[in-house]
């Protein structure tokens, strides 16, 4: 369903913005200015951005407009503004990963994702807030500020890509890049009513993403529509010689897959509903409203011709403990470089302390409690004498989870589940209960551990808050995620009579 003609620029789909820009109906400067105005007016309440450089954004927009005026050949994304999660390294633009320890760092290079988006002519509006080093599910672990959910300012926007989800849901950016380690794109997308896709591990370059857990991290799109997600994914995906784990394969025809899905014919598609993720006997912790919306969405798929069956993946029950050993282990090593010697924060270097003391003080003051918790967990899990029992065992579980997926692919084309067991919870409700916080990722962890593509697409409201529907697919079959998600999106939009996000009432303090 396309954007209403009368819609302001800040609630127009990115794909439509691209069309308007290409047709010369609007300039990049106008679009960029509209977003900057809205950021100016509403981000004080929302807290989506950590850094906005209006002058740089307008200058970049001006360059695109000038190039277009000269008749230069421009790509489909040229002139469309965009927000980047602050975990993406940007040359000359402050990059903190949500941590005090990187305060003031202006990187000397661009992440591949940032470079590709720059080359595509997108205009960087700013860097979005996040849980420190992407560790969290609510963005409350940011060292800088709390970000609020545009659907209800007393609730969290999900995490760790909560700044990106709030920016897009709140119309402070047409789309944004997030990163997903255990669910950090999908869960915030779910709780703010966005589309969020975690690509196949290795299909989007990690070069220049500040590493949390190297074997899991992936960047991906967070957008208003499935088509937008596919377009943004195509722009950032594909092989990168700077990332050894990058897969040497073309990114695929994702936008095409989304368009095909929107036609609503899923005849012959075999859909597996994962029993262990909210199914019979596994409903503990799942809100009834979430399960109801999920069931309705499954019925919609069936109505479009999909063959739905239950699939059991027993090892998924072990995903949470395995993830909370593997990710902290890798993080404990990845975060060792933040020692105050070369960049960012340095504490206590007044001549009275030796090197070890300065490193310790810097890390003591530069890292927040969740980051410290995971460094300690990971350090312990990798320690000699404990390695096999913890890290080694977790890797075995990872293999078992991959096997469950592999055997499922014998019977089904995609697996589906709720994206998160609950809707957005109130700010502060889980900050003192890490286990409850970790449970938000219950449904997203299996695909992360297996390196598989997974998308979250809105499937309705529960108590007035968005619920996400997750579609998982085999490695490099990201197109299936887009096809199924687009079919669901189109069916719901047409039943509803408007796009999902159009149902978001202008939040308090917001200027439409």
């Amino acid at each position: 369903m396309s954007t209403p003609v009368s819609a302001p620029l800040t609630s127009t789909d990115a794909a439509e913005l691209g069309r308007l820009l290409a047709a010369g109906e609007v300039s990049s400067a106008e679009v960029t200015q509209a977003y900057l105005d809205r950021i100016q007016a509403t981000d004080g309440d929302l807290g989506a951005y950590l850094h906005v450089d209006a002058d740089a954004a307008l200058a970049a927009a001006g360059e695109i407009d000038a190039a277009r005026a000269k008749g230069e050949e421009l790509g489909p994304l040229a002139g469309i503004p965009l927000a980047l999660k602050d975990v993406v390294v940007t040359e000359g633009v402050p990059t903190t990963s949500g941590s005090k320890i990187l305060e003031g760092w202006r990187p000397p290079y661009d992440a591949t994702v940032a470079a590709r988006l720059k080359a595509a002519g997108t205009v960087l509006l700013g860097k979005t807030n996040m849980d420190e080093f992407a560790m969290g599910s609510s963005t409350e672990n940011s060292a800088y500020k709390v970000t609020r959910n545009p659907w209800d300012h007393d609730r969290i926007p999900g995490g760790s890509s909560g700044g990106s989800s709030a920016a897009v849901a709140g119309s402070l950016a047409p789309w944004a890049i997030g990163t997903d380690t255990g669910g950090s794109i999908r869960q915030p997308a779910a709780v703010t009513g966005l589309v969020g896709h975690k690509p196949t591990y290795g299909s989007v370059s990690r070069f220049g993403l500040i590493a949390f857990s190297s074997s899991l991290d992936q960047a991906g799109p967070m957008t208003r529509t499935v088509l937008d997600a596919a377009l943004l994914h195509e722009a950032i995906g594909g092989h990168d010689p700077l990332d050894s784990t990058s897969i040497d394969a073309p990114v695929g025809v994702l936008a095409e897959a989304a368009r095909r899905g929107a036609e609503g014919d899923l005849t012959g598609l075999r859909v597996g509903v994962v029993t262990e993720l909210g199914g019979d006997g596994h409903t503990d912790g799942y809100e009834p409203g979430v399960l109801a919306r999920f069931a309705e969405a499954v019925a919609l798929l069936e109505g479009m011709g999909a063959e739905v069956r239950q699939v059991s993946c027993p090892a998924f029950d072990l995903a949470l403990p395995a993830y909370y050993l593997i990710a902290p282990s890798e993080a404990s090593s990845n975060l060792a470089r933040f020692d105050g010697v070369r960049y960012g924060l340095r504490v206590g270097d007044d001549g009275s302390r030796d090197l070890d003391e300065v490193m310790a003080l810097t890390r003591e003051q530069g890292f927040g409690p969740e980051v410290k918790r995971r460094i300690i967990l990971g350090t312990y899990a990798l320690s000699s004498g404990y390695y096999e029992a913890y890290y080694g065992q977790a890797q075995k579980v990872r293999t078992l989870i991959t096997r469950d997926f592999t055997s499922a692919w014998d019977d089904v084309d995609v697996l589906v589940s709720p994206t998160s067991p609950t809707v957005a919870w109130p700010v502060g409700a889980r900050v003192d209960d890490p286990i409850a916080m970790y449970a938000a990722d219950l449904c997203t962890l299996p695909a992360s551990l297996a390196g598989l593509p997974a998308i979250s697409v809105p499937c309705g409201l529960s108590d007035g808050l968005p619920v996400g529907f997750q579609v998982m697919a085999p490695a490099l079959a990201d197109d299936r995620c887009y096809t199924v998600a687009a079919a669901l999106e189109a069916a719901q939009d047409s039943a509803r009579g408007h796009r999902f996000l159009d149902g978001l009432a202008t939040p308090a303090g917001g200027a439409a």
Binding site: L102, S214, S215, S244, T245, L335, D339, R342, D356, Y387
Partner: protein, 500 residues
């Protein structure tokens, strides 16, 4: 420097049996670093050969340098190792400013090459050194401690870090413990590093300049009472940077540890620093509380899986290795095995070969390098190859002697000039006026003056005591300041004094 009590070396051997082991780090001579495209040129301004990857900046990722993998496999093949069909990098986690990522990307339980060996010869005896593993890793940056007296961190005002070296590919070659070398332990250690160095040179994988730190050995030494079934506690002498020092460090540690054990104390497992000036070691970091490096497979790199075909291609393309080359050269040069071993142990095979290639006879080349030049290197405390003289210059010098232009003594003076940087031997002979006098008027005058000045001796010779002629030869040599040829002088004296 050292205040350690030492036991006389020969006495050590009456009570103890040494076990040695070596870990040798070799900087590869690749054009770019291990995980990024930065240059590896030695001696550049600090921190000019760096990028986000080798500085460990947030977000940067490593990409393996394939040339470094190839070199490592070639080293493994030359050492008779098994080449793994599947090998992984691992992170070795520890904090130090010279490792910018907070971990060193290395290999742990899945090295590229394992189970090789290297035979070395000392005094006609062959010792087989088992190679446990050959793996590839990245070098660290270099710390410069400023303001202290010693250049070490203690007493320094501040420290600077140069990351030019960070990320240079480093191959680590680890031996298994080497028992059974007895009194030869110091020589075996030296011979091993010497032979390893020759192999690396032949492979062309590294410049192996020890003085530039291209090749650094950590030398492990332990002592156990003779007949003991268990080996003793070892110490690890770090960064021993010359062949001679390898030998000296083992010798010193044996003498020191014997004194510790004699006193009823136990040897502390620790790393020790070697001091070039005194030949002693001093205590470094204790390893009693072993650092837990929390190794785990490097998730940023995919495993290395060299296929069989590639390995066989590399094996087939290996150059002639030093041991085989020595056998061939020994035959070509007509030397005995012992003579060849001396050349090898002096690290002079390439020098002699170069000298022969430049036109000298094998006998002359050997005589120069193992005689006069070895003496000078020893006096200066440097390796033969470090002397500022080339094989071509040595060949030229030998040629001058052969042609009778200079005698041995003059040749040594010419060598002085060459070593002093005065130019090639012929030029030095000319500039210093070192050429032997021919049957010249000047020499005739000197001969006649000697006869006139020593009438008694001359009479004795005339009277048949021919051996007395030596005194007259000496007198002539003295007046000509050694520039005359003794045989010529003798002949001229005989012509005048002995009736035929």
């Amino acid at each position: 420097m050292s205040t350690d009590t030492l036991v006389d070396f020969d006495e050590v051997l009456t009570r103890y049996e040494p076990v040695i082991g070596l870990e040798t780090h070799v900087e590869l001579g690749t054009a770019s670093k291990m995980f990024c495209g930065c240059s590896t040129t030695f001696g550049a301004e600090p921190n000019t050969q760096t990028c986000p990857v080798c500085l460990g900046l947030p977000g940067a990722l490593p990409v393996v340098n394939e040339a470094a993998i190839e070199s490592t496999i070639r080293i493994g093949l030359a050492l008779g190792c098994r080449i793994a069909s599947w090998s992984r990098f691992a992170r070795k986690n520890y904090f130090y400013p010279d490792i910018p990522k907070g971990f060193q990307t290395s290999q742990y339980d899945e090295p590229l090459c394992t189970a090789g060996h290297l035979d070395v010869e000392v005094d006609g005896e062959t010792y087989r050194v088992e190679i446990e593993r050959v793996h590839i890793e990245e070098d660290t940056g270099k710390n410069l401690h400023v303001g202290g007296a010693t250049g070490r961190i203690h007493g320094a005002d501040h420290s600077l870090v140069d990351y030019n070296r960070a990320g240079i590919p480093l191959v680590e070659i680890v031996t298994r413990p080497i028992p059974g070398t007895g009194a030869k332990a110091p020589e075996v250690a030296k011979a091993y590093v010497t032979e390893l160095r020759e192999i690396l040179l032949a492979l062309g994988v590294s410049e192996v300049r020890m003085e530039q730190g291209n090749l650094r050995s950590d030398v492990n030494t332990s002592l156990a009472p003779i007949g003991s079934l268990e080996w003793g506690t070892r110490t690890e002498t770090k960064n021993v940077n010359s062949l001679r020092s390898v030998e000296r460090s083992v010798r010193f540690e044996m003498r020191r540890q014997a004194a510790v054990l004699d006193a009823g104390r136990r040897v502390v497992q620790e790393t020790r620093h070697f001091h070039e000036d005194s030949g002693s070691t001093s205590e470094g970091r204790s390893k009693e509380e072993a650092t837990d490096y929390r190794y785990f497979p490097e998730p940023d790199l995919v495993p290395i899986a060299p296929d069989e075909e590639w390995i066989e291609k590399l094996r087939a393309a290996l150059p002639e290795l030093p041991a085989a080359r020595r056998v061939r050269l020994q035959e070509e040069w007509g030397l005995s095995a012992t003579e060849m071993a001396w050349i090898a142990n002096a690290g002079a095979v390439e020098l002699v070969a170069g000298t022969v290639a430049a036109g000298a006879t094998p006998a002359d080349a050997r005589k120069w390098w193992l005689g006069e030049l070895a003496r000078r290197a020893n006096d200066a405390g440097v390796e033969l190859a470090q002397l500022p003289v080339t094989p071509a210059q040595v060949a030229e010098l030998a040629g001058l002697v052969q042609a009778g232009t200079v005698n041995d003594q003059l040749a040594r003076q010419a060598l002085d000039g060459v070593l002093a940087g005065e130019g090639d031997p012929a030029a030095v002979v000319k500039s210093r006026g070192l050429a032997v006098m021919g049957d010249s008027d000047e020499l005739v005058a000197a001969v006649e003056a000697a006869i006139e000045g020593n009438p008694d001796v001359a009479d004795k010779v005339r009277g048949g005591k021919v051996q007395a002629i030596g005194a007259l030869v000496g007198a002539v040599m003295k007046t000509t300041r050694g520039k005359a040829d003794a045989a010529t002088v003798k002949r001229m004296l005989e012509e005048r004094l002995v009736s035929s």
